[in-house]
Every structure is written in C-alpha cells, then in structure tokens.
C-alpha cells in the first residue's frame, strides 16, 4: 500500500494522479501538492513509484486485507 510522497522531492508533475489505476490521489493546487486521498483503494501495483520522475513516492509491499475463500 502507498506509504508516502516526499514533499521535498515532489515537483507536482501530477503523473501519479493521472496514471493511478484506482484513483488514489487528489490534487491540492493551492499548495501544489499531491494528496494520498484514498489509500484504502491502493492495489499495491507500484505504478506510481515506478513512473515518478522524482523518486518521491514509496510504496510498501503490504496490501490491505483481502477476503479469501475461507
């Protein structure tokens, strides 16, 4: 699950916001910040971290609890 965005590294390019398959981010234009608005919907695909040009994002490998067959 997404862990953090490093505010010192993030340059507000918005790539993470645009590409997230599950729409986890929101823009805060007045502060030029990206907010992790819906972390519970993160599917831990690492796409935002891999595509971040500033290496500002860190995704932890743990996923939200899933319902299995038993």
């Amino acid at each position: 699950m997404i862990e953090r965005i490093d505010r010192n590294l993030c340059d507000y390019c918005q790539i993470c916001f645009r590409i997230c398959p599950t729409d986890v981010f929101r823009l805060v234009p007045e502060r030029r910040e990206i907010r992790i608005a819906y972390p519970e919907d993160c599917q831990t695909c690492f796409a935002c971290e891999i595509d971040c040009p500033q290496d500002a994002i860190r995704v932890a490998p743990a996923r939200r609890p899933r319902i299995g067959p038993w």
Binding site: P21, D23, R26, D41, F46, P61, P69
Partner: protein, 564 residues
C-alpha cells in the same frame, strides 16, 4: 445539468493493448474520427501496462495446427476456433510491426528467447519487451500509444456509465468525468468495448480496476455474453502482492498443507507443476479433508538461486516488490501463508468474425470479448492485441456502410441525472459501495461457489446477489466523485456476479476451471455447448445453450481407442 458533447465515428472504451490496436487498425482502415476514453489515464493505467508483457507469437517455423490444438485442448474445446486461428496467424505480422516501431523482445543467441507457456505442449512465448526506457507491458503500451494517439481524441478519467441506442443500433455513450462528475455525451456511430474483464476486486494482485464495466454495458444493450461461468482463481499471499506462483512452483517451490505436507502429488501427476486451477482444486479438497487452512508456499533456498532470478527476468513490478519485501524483513526462503486468490472472470461479449456483438454497431475486443475461457501465460496479451486489431478493422468496415445516427437528447439527460443522483443522496440509510463489494465477495469467493461449486451453494449465492442488486444498489450513496465512480463499478460487478452464478448453474458438467462437485464429469464433445446470457425483453437474464460447432472446426477431440 450541463452536458459536454463529443461527436465521433468510433468510440473506443479502454486503452490497453486491445483498445490501442483497435485505434491503430481503424485509422489504417480509413476511420478519421476516433475518440478513446479510459476511466484512468490513456494507455498508462491499463492491465496491459501493469503486466510483464510476455506474449505468444506464432512464427513461420511454428506449426499453426499444433499450436491451435494446444490452445483449443487447454480451453476444454470451448475456443471459438476461427477467431483463435486468425489471432495466431496474424501474430507474426503484429510482432514485425511492433519491432518496426522500436519494440524488442529478449533474445538468445541469434534468435528470440522463446519460453514454454505453462499448460501448453508446443506454444511458446516471448518475454521482456523493451521500448526506450520501458520494460514489460509498459514497453508495448508506450509504443502502441505513440502510434494510436495522433489524430485520436482522448478522454482520460472518464467512466462510461451507459451506452445509447437509436433505431436498433448503437448511437453513443454517456460518460462521467472522474474529477468533476460532469456528464459527457458521446455521439458515436460505433462503440468498441475494450475494458478488460472482472476480478471482483479479488485477492489476486493488481486487478482492482477490472470491474466488469464492458460486460454490464454490453448486457444492458441486449448483447449476448458467453463463458461467464469461468472464474479463474490463482493463488497468492494474503499479505503482499506476488505475481509468479507458477514460476516459483516450477523452480523448486511447493505448496504445503496445515500439517506441513506437500500434497499436490496426491492430486495430479505433475504435482506442484500442475496448472493453476488444479492447485486451487487440490487446496479446496485438502480443506474438505481437514488438512487446511492454512497453506504455505515453501521456496527454501530455491528462492535465492532460481526463483528470484527467474522473476527478475520476467519483469513487471515484481523486482521492486521483492526488494521492498526484503527491506521489510520478509524472508521468502521461509514458508509463507498462501491462499486461493480470485483473479479474472474469463467470459465476455460474444462476437462475430469482425468483432461485432449481436447489437449492431457494438464491438468488443481483448478480455471484454468471449474467445475462450482459459488463463495462460502470454495468451491474454496475444488475445488482446490480435482481437483489438481485428475488431478495430471490423468497426471500420461497418462504419463504411453505416449511416448517421445520434442519441436521443432527452434519454441522455435522463441517464446523466440518474448516473449522478447518488451524490445528492442523504447519508443515512444507504450503503456505500465498499460495503456492497465486501458482501458480494463473501458470497461468491466461498470454496463451494467459486472453486468446487455445488448447485445449492450457487443458488444461495445467487439469492444474496439478487438481494444486493434489488435491495442495496438503488439506494447506494457516494460521498464524492471518487465514491461515485466506485458505485458504478460496484453496479457492474454485481451484474457480473449474477452472470457468473447463473452461468455456473446452467453448465451441468465440469470443464477447465469450472468444477461442479455435483456434476464432476465432462460432457461428451457432441453435447458441448456455450452458455450464453442475454437480457430478455422483460428485463430478466435469459440463458441460451449454443452448441459448439466442433464438427465444422479444424481441431476436434482425438478419439482414444477403447481397449478390447
């Protein structure tokens, strides 16, 4: 209510491999006005882009007949053979074109590195596509995007909620802007659905965005859907993402039951190398015997020596994931809890040779169309690319003869009001989408519903889903636009769940990943049918049994001589 309007000839919904190839092929066939929508970014958020990109290509030196037989047999003879054959036959030309656009696959010596694909005898796949700095599915997606985008009008972050018809043919679609909730009317003479499949937000990794969107859109218009009983369950960790259980089991890993015993050899001659659905069947049978849960995947030192290097070669997100797990102190040489993980509903829209559904002007491609029900490495990517190209060309041919058509504006306004209504609902009473999804998962992920199906359990789950459909969906509330989009996705998943259960009840035999404890045998080939579902005029879900025309197909079951 203000409604934006876009007028186009072909609207492509989805921008993975299938949607992108469809746009390229349609333009080459003369369609000048193409619009592409995606509920996330165009070409940057798809399942195609997230996958490792391994793809089956049939080269001139390969035997098309042997490959076709491999695929048809592995799919329990439910393949739509002419469509599969065409996709295989044209695969080499697509590879050649991808290479001319700058994509390269891993090589070995003078030729390609060609790896066997689990479940097949002859079929081989290529791995590790690269394009500029991208590797894996992202490389192919990036290359296709560069070819598809010029001249294509793109609408990122738009979720299509309804399709529109006029005079018995498709006339367009209604979408919602995922940032502002603003409705957008697409007046389109043809619509092509390439929205992947449905994972029901199951336990498998990286599939949360596949929510059966195209299935529900097509169903509502009266299209037939086929193979909806085939829900493929993979395996994985309940705690972290892991793609490549098959690789792990091939390179020294094994599954252990709650007693610490390796059990697969009791169930299958290939033991832990058996196909994924065999592993899941065996886990469920161990549970019936009281030997689990929990189960564990034991990789031991093979993880370091063979499995991790193999996963690194395949690419995708796994190399980063493995390094993060190591950072967190997860030692994958030690046994890890392992569970069945619902991955994908393999049915889809039944299409004709040109990719058109039973609704004039409505096309499907990729995992949204019904081609065959199996799940194999490298096959989904080949399917997506080949069917996208074919359906894009088919839509172009259809458009050449189709006259003008526009949706009724009063219908557009009514649907737009309905699609956004949950935003205004009072916050008391109604459920949120997540609560409905969890109830749905508890009903359909049960072993006796999704793995070793029983008629009475399927009936009970169907009653649960109908209750959610009729009791919960109409009053769902959304706190914001993000919640509104999830609400629509939930509506799509509930419809897909109903289709899965009705089709599972209708197929009174066992075949591939569809196993009925109360009907454990497979029917004779002469009685083989596809289960098709469609919305009847009275709104009920109607089941049709379509005989598989095996006698007119190139690949037929081999007759095994009966010993005297």
């Amino acid at each position: 209510m203000r409604i934006r309007r876009c007028e186009t000839d072909l609207l492509i919904v989805g921008s993975g491999f299938a949607g992108l190839w469809a746009a390229i092929a349609a333009r080459e066939a003369g369609v000048t006005r193409i619009a592409m929508v995606d509920k996330a970014a165009i070409a940057m958020s798809s399942q195609s882009r997230l996958c490792a990109g391994a793809t089956i290509y049939c080269l001139p030196e390969d035997s098309l007949e042997l490959w076709l037989r491999d695929i048809v047999e592995a799919n329990g003879f439910l393949s739509r053979q002419p469509l599969v054959a065409e996709i295989l036959e044209t695969s080499h030309e697509r590879l050649r074109r991808l290479e001319s656009w700058g994509v390269s696959y891993e090589r070995a010596g003078d030729g390609y590195l060609r790896l066997p694909s689990r479940g097949f005898r002859h079929v081989k796949m290529m791995v590790m596509p690269r394009f500029r700095e991208s590797v894996g599915g992202a490389a192919v997606a990036d290359a296709l995007r560069r070819r598809a985008r010029p001249g294509t009008q793109t609408f990122p972050r738009v979720l299509v909620t309804d399709l529109l018809q006029r005079d018995g043919r498709i006339a367009g679609a209604l979408g919602l802007d995922r940032t502002t909730a603003e409705p957008i009317e697409f007046a389109a003479r043809a619509v092509l659905l390439a929205t992947a499949d449905c994972s029901f937000r199951g336990s498998y990794v990286c599939t949360d965005a596949t929510t059966g969107d195209g299935f529900r859109l097509a169903y509502d218009q009266g299209a037939r859907l086929s193979n909806m009983e085939f829900l493929c369950t993979n395996t994985g960790s309940p705690h972290f993402g892991f793609e490549g259980t098959g690789v792990a089991l091939r390179w020294g890993g094994r599954l252990l039951n709650a007693r610490g015993e390796a059990f697969m050899a009791r169930y299958h001659p290939d033991a832990d190398s058996a196909e994924i659905h065999e592993l899941v069947q065996a886990m469920a049978r161990e549970v019936e015997k009281g030997n689990g849960p929990p189960f564990q995947l034991e990789m031991g030192d093979s993880f370091t020596t063979r499995i991790a290097p193999a996963l690194a070669r395949i690419g995708g997100f796994m190399p980063l994931n493995l390094s993060r797990l190591a950072d967190e102190g997860v030692d994958l040489r030690r046994p890890q809890e392992w569970i069945p993980a619902v991955q994908t509903l393999r049915g889809g829209v039944r299409v004709h040779a040109d990719g058109q559904s039973d609704v004039p002007g409505l096309f499907a491609a990729g995992m949204t169309e019904a081609l065959d029900p199996g799940l194999f490495n490298g096959w989904s990517t080949l399917r997506a690319m080949g069917s996208g190209e074919r359906s894009g060309r088919g839509a172009a041919r259809w458009l050449a003869d189709a006259g003008p058509c526009a949706p009724h504006s009063d219908e557009v306004a009514e649907l737009a009001a309905r699609a956004t209504a949950p935003l205004g609902r009072k916050k008391s009473g109604g459920l949120r989408a997540d609560e409905v999804v969890e109830r749905m998962q508890r009903s359909i992920f049960r072993t006796d519903v999704s793995i070793r199906k029983r008629g009475e359990s399927l009936e009970a789950a169907l009653r649960d889903i109908e209750d959610l459909r009729d009791g919960a969906l109409p009053d769902l509330i959304a706190d914001d636009v993000h919640g509104l989009a999830k609400l629509h996705e939930t509506r799509n998943m509930i419809r897909a769940a109903e289709m899965f259960l009705r089709a599972s009840l209708a197929r009174g035999e066992s075949r591939g990943a569809h196993f009925r404890v109360d009907h454990p045998e497979s029917d004779e080939a002469s009685r083989l049918v596809w289960i098709n579902l469609r919305r009847a005029d009275d709104g009920a879900m109607q089941i049709e049994r379509e005989p598989v025309p095996l006698s007119s197909y190139p690949i037929q079951p081999l007759v095994t001589p009966v010993p005297a």
